[in-house]
């Protein structure tokens, strides 16, 4: 079991690095969206600071959604997914590894870059740890929930729009809690409650989403 997890991780890693363009796309999108805001609304620090939590979170959310559309598509088209479904190994475990790998190269990279953009949007340094924490707990939820939608739309041509329609409503609690934590921190209020709720969602989606993703893929493959 441990062996297959490791081999799958290596496979995903190789595939990702052989197409570095796909790897960078969501991060470039994230960076562009955030850096356009100060240009559009003006450099007034007070205004930027008020907007910062929302801007960073919306950018992270859209970047994740954008990158998830193709998560299972190529494996579906070349028949790899059929072999996964047929394998005696649990499909839910394999998709969990795949989604976590995706989060490592997309979500975690955004968490690492976020302080830089936080400073750019005039967030005080004391708020940056909370910004990182909220993204660290929230982006895995975005990846896992999005993967459920990606699995359900895997066999559909032009499933991107449908994916957004399916998944955006589910993203809203994460968005509210994530930005809420940063807002609270900006006003000097405790953020433990928000962090606990986000952690709760992360654990819930880590444990339940793989089962839903596997079920979605089974339906997709049988079409």
């Amino acid at each position: 079991m441990r062996r297959i997890v490791w081999l799958l991780f290596c496979r995903e890693w190789r595939l990702a690095w052989r197409r570095p363009g796909d790897l960078l796309n969501p991060l470039v999108f994230f960076a562009i969206v955030i850096s356009l805001f100060p240009l559009a609304v003006g450099p007034e620090p007070g205004m930027l600071r008020t907007m910062a939590p929302g801007v960073i979170w919306v950018a992270a959310l859209l970047a994740t959604l954008l990158s998830l559309d193709g998560l299972f598509r190529s494996d579906y088209e070349d028949g790899s997914l059929e072999q996964w479904v047929l394998s005696p190994h649990p499909l839910a475990l394999m998709v969990l590894v795949k989604v976590l790998h995706h989060w490592l190269i997309c979500g975690l990279a955004m968490v690492v870059l976020a302080p830089l953009f936080g400073l750019m949007l005039a967030l005080p340094a004391s708020v940056l740890p909370v910004l990182c924490l909220s993204l660290l707990l929230g982006t895995p939820v975005l990846s896992l929930l999005g993967a459920v939608g990606a699995a359900l739309t895997v066999g559909l041509k032009g499933g991107g729009v449908l994916l957004a329609l399916l998944i955006l409503p589910l993203y809203i609690p994460v968005l509210i809690l994530g930005t809420g934590a940063i807002d609270a921190s900006l006003q000097g209020m405790p953020v433990t409650g928000y962090a606990l709720w986000l952690g709760c969602l992360a654990v819930l989606s880590l444990s339940l989403a793989p089962i839903a993703i596997a079920a979605g893929l089974r339906i997709g493959v049988s079409e």
């Binding site: 062996r3 297959i4 081999l7 799958l8 496979r11 190789r14 595939l15 052989r18 197409r19 190529s74 088209e77 070349d78 028949g79 790899s80 059929e82 072999q83 996964w84 479904v85 047929l86 394998s87 005696p88 190994h89 493959v221 049988s222």
Partner: protein, 211 residues
């Protein structure tokens, strides 16, 4: 692995509310090769996908060694004993032939690099081990997928159009390999438009006549 008989019992298949076949029953003993034939759209691929376990059957079941596959104890054993190679060869364009095979085999049983090199030589791809598969031709990519037949020890093979894009010499080698597998007590179910009449002991199931 011990070869076991396969019994298909009143299998039915429906696609988009169109009935492809109903009450299909046949038996396969260990050591038999079954060619599923029929015109386009007669349900050959659907039958193979149902047998592989990718597509749920509307009715009926498969018994493998006496145990039911879809609804009972036979499921696990069937999972471990059948090998399915579909229309899409499951070969990743950005991975090399060796990486592709090592992953595909690891899905059931990991194999060593030397075995993979030997299997690639058998399918005529010696020297292509480290080449990314997108540089290979369609026939060569199909050969990479078919190299699994030389690597994995599954008694039951379910092959959907295995001869597509393969040249004459390759087809002859594959036919020989299929016969050798059957002689060892393995079972092969395949679809092809290519005639297998010159091979001994190949049974034919014509879906055009069943329907």
């Amino acid at each position: 692995m011990k070869p076991l008989p396969i019994e298909v019992r009143s299998l039915a298949c429906e696609r988009d509310q169109r009935e492809l076949f109903t009450a299909m029953s046949f038996d396969l003993q260990a050591g038999e090769v079954l060619q599923v034939a029929g015109p386009n759209g007669s349900g050959k691929t659907s039958l193979l996908r149902i047998l592989a376990g990718l597509l749920p059957a509307v009715a009926g079941d498969v018994h493998y060694g006496g145990a039911t596959v879809f609804s009972g104890r036979g499921r696990e054993r069937w999972r471990q004993n059948r090998l399915f190679i579909g229309h899409a060869p499951a070969v990743k364009a950005n991975l090399t032939a060796e990486e592709n095979l090592s992953w595909l085999c690891a899905l059931s049983q990991p194999v060593a690099a030397q075995q993979i090199a030997a299997a690639l030589e058998q399918v005529g791809l010696r020297g292509f081990e480290d080449v990314p598969c997108h540089t290979l031709s369609a026939g060569q990519q199909r050969r990479v997928a078919l190299a699994r037949l030389y690597l994995e020890a599954h008694p039951v093979w379910i092959l959907d159009e295995p001869f597509t894009a393969i040249d004459k010499a390759g087809v002859a080698a594959l036919e020989q390999h299929i016969q050798a597998h059957a002689a060892d007590g393995g079972t092969v179910i395949l679809t092809t438009h290519h005639s297998l009449e010159h091979l001994e002991g190949v049974r034919c199931l014509d879906l055009g006549q069943v329907a």
